[in-house]
């Protein structure tokens, strides 16, 4: 039977004018295009799918700001941001392949169903050729699978679980953000220097996929250097008060508490841990310590003073270039254009979104086509620099970016309201790189790219 086309608004927008003139009904039943939503008019539409309601809304909105900035820069407006520092010079500020960049926005609500509905509407109704954004791994994995099916490129937003480029990886999906394994690998040496090798760790882990992979990554990395895991406890996503999970820590042999929590969970569990005096506690003759594997500026803001001195890892920080120099070129350019537009420095969620949009545009430009397969090919194995993270590789085997990981801790005496974390160290790429068949990423196949149609 005939393979019918799926929606192609881009095409229609241009032919509509002609169609109106002819006033002739057209029925499309056959594949008229090489791939889903091939842009044939003077614009190309990108879909920015971020949480705008729910607990991660602030993160999502920050991401959206960065996307809007990226669109400006791609269209040659504003100061150009990181386009000036980006190692690839394919983009010239005249849109993508000469087409002006337009965008649509949607609300993922941090629910996989809602995120997919929103992404589908972008693909089916608005003719988006690429979907990007999101602030949780559940959503990233769900939308990535959808984009694979529909034949568009997915540039993941903030997603940290190994699964996104591990067991749930997809040929049409790409992740710039770092992952659980990298957090573990980056944190371990820093923790070793700061707290020694003889430690008893107690884990409170969010009871869902991201929590599982992150706990596993941190445990494997710290146990390898000699730490002992005394207890791991899973906490419900819906928990708001963690006192009953913190209290047993007091009665255990632990001298380190690892909070594998994100967002509101992390803010609350850390606040509760500090309330119970864990920061002042002495155990086994050592100072008790708390570690939060994944950090974000917004979480630091939510936790307030409780975050001071707590170690964690980040994908990027706006102070990188100032603190550590030219290797992280691009950072200041981005902070400047973002800061001047919005009045505050960008979060790492904003940064990864901006970079993903630029990387996509660049790949299209280099491939000379919006065809997802061509774009994927251009991204696979792509090495670049100047986007704020130092030299970076988009690995072909799993579509994961490999770059330095920033280890941070909560700042003791912030200068102003934006100065919440300080960079402790940057763990170089080699130390956080793993083999594509690493057990933490086992199961699942990339499959082959799907151009849709």
């Amino acid at each position: 039977m005939n393979k019918l086309t799926i929606n192609r608004r881009g095409l229609i927008k241009s032919t509509a004018v002609v169609g109106a003139g002819l006033a002739m009904p057209h029925i499309f039943t056959r594949r008229a295009n090489a791939f889903t939503n091939e842009p044939t008019g003077s614009t190309v539409t990108l879909g920015f799918n971020v949480p705008q309601t729910g607990p991660y809304a602030d993160e999502g909105l920050d991401q959206l700001r960065a996307y809007q900035l990226a669109v400006e820069h791609l269209n040659g407006e504003g100061d150009g941001g990181m386009l000036n520092t980006f190692s690839s010079k394919a983009l010239s500020g005249n849109g993508i392949l000469g087409k002006k960049v337009a965008y649509v926005t949607g609300d993922t609500q941090t629910k996989s169903d809602a995120a997919r509905a929103s992404a589908r509407s972008m693909i089916e109704k608005d003719g988006a050729v690429m979907i990007t954004g999101g602030s949780s791994s559940g959503v990233a994995v769900a939308v990535q699978a959808l984009c694979q099916e529909a034949g568009v490129i997915f540039m993941a937003g903030l997603t940290h679980a190994n699964d996104t480029t591990g067991k749930d990886k997809k040929a049409n999906g790409f992740r710039h953000f770092f992952n659980s394994y990298m957090s573990g690998a980056a944190l371990a040496p820093v923790l070793e220097t700061a707290y020694g090798t003889d430690r008893n760790a107690y884990y409170l882990t969010a009871d869902y996929n991201w929590g599982y992979t992150t706990e596993q990554a941190i445990r494997e990395a710290t146990e390898a250097m000699g730490w002992n895991t005394v207890e791991t406890v899973l906490t419900p996503l819906a928990a708001t008060d963690f006192s009953s999970y913190i209290a047993p820590v007091l009665n255990s042999d632990a001298d380190v508490l690892v909070l594998v929590h994100y967002g509101g969970n992390m803010v609350n569990s850390l606040t509760n841990a500090v309330q119970f005096g864990l920061r002042e506690r002495q155990k086994n003759g050592k100072q008790f310590e708390i570690v939060v594997p994944l950090y974000s500026e917004l979480m630091a803001k939510g936790a307030g003073a409780n975050i001071k001195g707590i170690f964690g890892s980040q994908n990027w920080d706006w102070k990188l270039e100032n603190m550590l120099g030219d290797r992280y070129v691009g950072t200041n350019a981005f902070v400047r254009s973002f800061g001047e537009k919005y009045g505050f420095p960008p979060s790492q969620a904003a940064h990864t979104g901006y970079v993903q949009a630029i990387l996509y545009a660049d790949a299209v430009e280099r491939a000379g086509s919006f065809n997802p397969c061509a774009v994927a090919e251009a991204l696979e194995g792509f090495e670049f620099d100047g986007l704020g993270n130092g030299p970076t590789l988009y690995r072909a085997d799993d579509h994961q970016c490999f770059k330095d990981v920033v280890v941070v801790k909560g700042k003791e005496n912030p200068e102003d309201e934006f100065d919440l974390v300080e960079i402790v160290e940057v763990t170089p790429t080699e130390q956080v790189t793993y083999a594509p068949d690493h057990p933490q990423f086992a199961g699942g196949e990339l499959g082959s790219c799907n151009p849709g149609a």
Binding site: T53, G54, P55, Y56, A57, D58, D207, E231, V233, L234, T235, P236, A238, T240, D241, S243, S244, Y245, A247, P248, L250, N251, G264, V267, N268, T271, N272, Q275, F276, G277, E280, R281, Q282, L298, K301, G302, A303, G304, A305, N306, W318, K319, V335, R336, G339, E340, F344, P345, E415, D416, F418, D419
Partner: protein, 342 residues
């Protein structure tokens, strides 16, 4: 043993939040017969009273410090709260730090006003309407209140610390003969528990020992009869609604240092507090309080590693499981009255 004592304390602490919310909810159920899905939003508004006051107290005078720079390289703007300018850095600083306890005074008039406005402006038109309509309208109101707060304060949690003097924890264990450091409990959580106990006692005393309370209790039992006695029960019910709003609001103010307030904290508590009210038994104030503490303690025990290692996931469902068991063995919850919302 020390672990168990700690969990009992935790349970009582969680339970006091549940009990306070459930108490207000059941007051509104009992007196007005209204299913108030916006009650969680009142709790949230209370917490944001504390946030607002701390923001108000921190309204600052901006001066540029040319020796330091902000993230864009411009001179850093230094914020000095006006209270510090007026009262000197010492006293002014203390005032800012004590914004949560001061928030109680700030919240009472605001919550009264919110309660009265809600009841007079909206709820009273729904006394005679089906419960389904009440749910829809109060749920809509809850969303609106939540979104308004989100519009002004964002979605991120806002740290609202307790005064420094009350931060830190009490070594409870030493006082009862345990090793130092084995049973320590945060001061603020103890304060919360005591505060909740006082508030609950005050509400009960008010209903038990004042004429006003007597009439309201009579009205809860049989509204029409009291109306026939020529007593303007509606006016008293309006006041009861305001009281319920204040109870929820104060529970929220005091809760702010325990967990940073965010705009959806009310919704997070809503479902639980309904479970608490129903497990306690419809129309029973004592039941609501009892169930609040009971579920709080059970939830705390279920989250101990010794328990979750044996029954994985029990901490996720314990409250609901207990609710089902109680409702199946005691048809009207712990202390429910016959015929209320059956």
């Amino acid at each position: 043993m020390d672990a168990i004592i700690l969990q009992v304390l935790n349970g009582l602490d969680k339970g006091s939040a549940y009990a306070l919310i459930a108490l207000g909810l059941t007051l509104i159920f009992g007196t007005l017969g209204v299913v108030n899905f916006a009650h969680g939003a009142l709790f949230m508004l209370g917490a944001f009273c504390a946030v607002t006051l701390s923001r108000l107290l921190a309204i600052s005078h901006e001066t540029a410090d040319p020796t330091r720079t902000d993230f864009l390289g411009n001179p850093l703007k230094v914020q000095t709260p006006y209270v510090e300018e007026w009262f000197g850095p010492e006293i002014g600083g203390t005032i800012v730090e004590w914004s949560v306890p001061l928030g109680i005074l700030f919240a009472i008039p605001i919550m009264i006003a919110v309660g009265l406005a809600m009841e007079r402006g909206l709820i009273r038109y729904f006394y005679k309407r089906p419960h389904a309509d009440q749910i829809l309208v109060t749920f809509g109101l809850a969303i609106v209140l939540q979104e308004v707060i989100k519009y002004f304060f964002g979605a991120n949690p806002i740290p609202t610390p307790a005064p420094p003097a009350l931060v830190g924890s009490l070594d409870f264990g030493v006082m009862i003969g345990f090793d130092p450091g084995s049973i320590i409990y945060p001061y603020w959580r103890l304060i919360y528990f005591v505060f909740a106990a006082i508030l609950i006692a005050a509400v009960f005393a008010f209903l038990q020992f004042t004429t006003f309370g007597m009439v309201v209790r009579a009205g809860m039992a049989d509204r029409e009869t009291v109306g026939l006695l020529g007593i303007d029960i509606d006016k008293r019910f309006t006041i009861m609604f305001a009281i319920a709003a204040v109870v929820a609001g104060l529970a929220g103010v005091m809760y702010a240092p325990i967990n940073s307030p965010n705009y959806h904290m009310g919704m997070d508590f809503l479902v639980l507090s309904f479970v608490v009210v129903v497990v306690g038994g419809m129309g029973s104030l004592g039941g609501a309080v009892l169930a609040g503490f009971l579920l709080g303690v059970l939830e705390s025990f279920a989250s101990m590693p010794q328990v979750t290692n044996v029954v994985p996931g029990i901490n996720q469902i314990v409250i609901y499981l207990v609710a089902i068991i109680i409702l199946l063995t005691r048809p009207r919850g712990l202390l429910g009255r016959k015929g209320v919302m059956e």
